[in-house]
Amino acid sequence: MKKLFQTAAASIIALTAAASHAEDIKPAVVFDMGGKFDKSFNEGVFNGVEKFSKETGIKYREFEVTNPSQREQAIRKMAQRGADPIVGVGFAQGPAIEKVAKEYPDIRFTIIDSVVDLPNVQSVVFKEHEGSFLVGVLAAMASENQKVGFIGGMDIPLIRKFACGYAQGAKYAVGSAEVYSNMTGTTPSAWNDPSKGSELAKSQFDKGADVIFAAAGGTGIGVYQAAKDAGKYAIGVDSNQNHLQPGTMLTSMTKGVDVAAYNAFKGAMDGTWKPGLHALGLAENGVDWALDDNNKSLITDAMKAKVKEARDGIVSGSISVHDFTSDSSCPAL
């Protein structure tokens, strides 16, 4: 009896120790320019950390940078306040995380969308070209004219990586497919310019495209609206956006930024957080295409079969999707 009591007491102590250890973490997140409600990347991270906060009751510190000098400043400030882990959002924060992580080797950092090679940094990147390839396959098969469009946000290598994967997918499915590609702009305002997105979409429809993939943050809203007005198809990005214009949203290319942010906090809490490079592609379910009630009538069995074939090929390695950022060129575009 006594022994049993002791064991019980010990296990209770162990449990409380574990619980208090779990509550020990002081997570922090530094959003990048655009802010946490950018309908896209930052918001994905925000959703992830909010989910964590709701589930566990653990509050997190946050900061939205508004100029480039603030990135390092904000991350260092989080570190000074003893935050751990610290999540940095977006490739632009890579250099800042690298500097601060060297100064605070005992604090765990997670950088999303960039690679920082340090023993206390977890780098989460996505193979957007693989996910874009799949929606490219779907776009080309849904297109009657064999002409598909791509509308990017700000003209940066990351978005060209989307465009390049998409073009390859379209040409993989339909060899003669034509791909039109436009970028909304060259400044960060290109992420939130729905009217320009709508204009670009209309001009691509005029050229004969009938499916458009928008990887443009808030600008995409205008593209989806234009597609609905013209009775053509659009493809969403980052999160599942099929519900935005049900019936004309062919699908969405999802990117698990919310999951990455959630896992960074959760992993730190559970002690499963690991540094190093985490490249999340199709095989890791980091990117995918969305199928739900809103678009199931638009996706035929032939399309499903073809996209499955492409997916299996990419996962097994028999199809290699060219990554624009590897050599800054795209043979398919």
Binding site: T66, S69, A92, D327
Partner: protein, 377 residues
């Protein structure tokens, strides 16, 4: 700019009125902060501590101040010739490109003391080149400088983006940024500089460019008020026809003034690219060009006023960032609103309080006068 009335002594015009305007702006900001349920006194404390609380915070404040001095001077110089240079943002951006190209080309071959003067020249030349085209169009073709300089901002954004994405990007990297400069092309930070004298401070973006900024202030003061060219510029600003009639080549004057304005804006590149980031990147100007307009307005286009106004805006930038860090309900937008209120009261509404103050002042002077008369009598 001429003052609307000569009734007030200078110290009230440049000292008391701006101060009252700032207090009004803070008062309205305080009400807004109260409305969202936070303590305004606490907020002011955080702003002041965040800007001046320790050497690290002061470093950030003065780093922003340096930028604003450059862009404020740029706007002020053009203003003396009644030219409204809205293109400081683009000129600073292209100035930074000039610095970056020079540093990337030479940092492997020559030491810092050769790169520094060349980089200063490059930033100035690139900034001036970016101001030259709108200036030429204004002087010889009559296109309005406000419109053309705004447009040139957008061209600068596009050009920088193209160059960074396609030419300067470090291969295999996601972010459109150039490689880091070698040590020979890095402006010593203030931490290193005071380290030479055995003083230790924390590392912040503050670097020796601030001395270039102060030197520029001295130069602008001498140039505008103590040279023939400065006289010509001011004369042109007061009355274009008179300047023309007295034999000044007004077209060359417009181009020359705008180019000088561009040079000063371009120096932001030295502070940000050579002194802070040590690589060419997007968006490093971060609104300093536009803030320069408010700084020049508030500083009454005088270098001393510009230094003070720059310090105020540096405080708002740095203290504002700390504010949104410490009180999460006060977000970045809120801080921008406070900055906007300061600009509104000190810039657009600069003369709103003037009649009242004038009346009070004349009343005081008059009562003093009668008091004197009584004692005399």
């Amino acid at each position: 700019m001429s003052s609307p009335s000569k009734a007030l002594p200078a110290w009230i015009d440049v000292g008391v009125i701006p101060l009252i305007n700032i207090l009004l702006a803070f008062f309205v900001s305080g009400i807004v902060i109260l409305i969202i349920g936070e303590d305004p006194i606490e907020a002011v404390k955080i702003i002041i501590y965040g800007a001046f609380g320790n050497d690290y915070n002061i470093g950030y404040t003065l780093h922003y101040t340096t930028n604003f001095i450059f862009t404020g001077l740029a706007v002020a110089v053009a203003f003396h010739a009644s030219l409204f240079n809205i293109g400081g943002e683009g000129q600073a951006y292209i100035g930074g490109l000039g610095v970056g190209l020079l540093c990337l080309a030479l940092d492997q071959y020559v030491p810092f003391w050769i790169i520094l003067p060349l980089a200063i020249i490059a930033s100035g030349l690139f900034g001036a080149a970016w101001a030259y085209v709108p200036a030429y169009l204004q002087a010889y073709r009559g296109s309005h400088i406000v419109i053309t300089t705004i447009m040139f901002n957008f061209i600068a954004f596009s050009l920088m983006n193209y160059i960074l994405v396609n030419v300067l990007i470090e291969p295999g990297q996601m972010s459109p940024e150039s490689r880091d400069f070698l040590a020979s092309a890095q402006m010593p930070t203030m931490q290193e500089a005071v380290g030479w004298f055995g003083i230790e401070i924390q590392k912040s973006p503050l670097n020796l460019s601030i001395f270039l900024a102060l030197f520029s202030c001295l130069f602008v003061w001498l140039f505008i008020w103590h040279t023939r060219w400065g006289y010509a510029i001011r004369m042109f600003g007061f009355n274009e026809n008179a300047a023309n009639y007295s034999g000044i080549n007004t077209q060359r004057l417009v181009v020359g003034t705008m180019c000088l304005s561009g040079v000063l804006a371009g120096f932001v590149g030295i502070n940000e690219i050579m002194g802070n980031h040590n690589r060419v990147m997007l968006d490093f100007v971060a609104g300093a060009g536009f803030t320069g307009i408010a700084v020049a307005l508030m500083g009454r286009n005088h270098p001393v006023g510009i230094i003070i106004a720059s310090l105020l805006f540096g405080t708002l930038y740095q203290g504002g960032a700390e504010l949104s860090f410490e009180i999460p309900t006060i977000q970045g937008e809120m801080v921008k609103a406070i900055q906007g209120l300061v600009i509104l009261f000190c810039g657009a509404l600069a003369y709103m309080t003037r009649p009242t103050i004038e009346r009070i002042f004349t009343a005081i002077v008059a009562s003093n006068g009668t008091a004197k008369e009584q004692t005399n009598g």
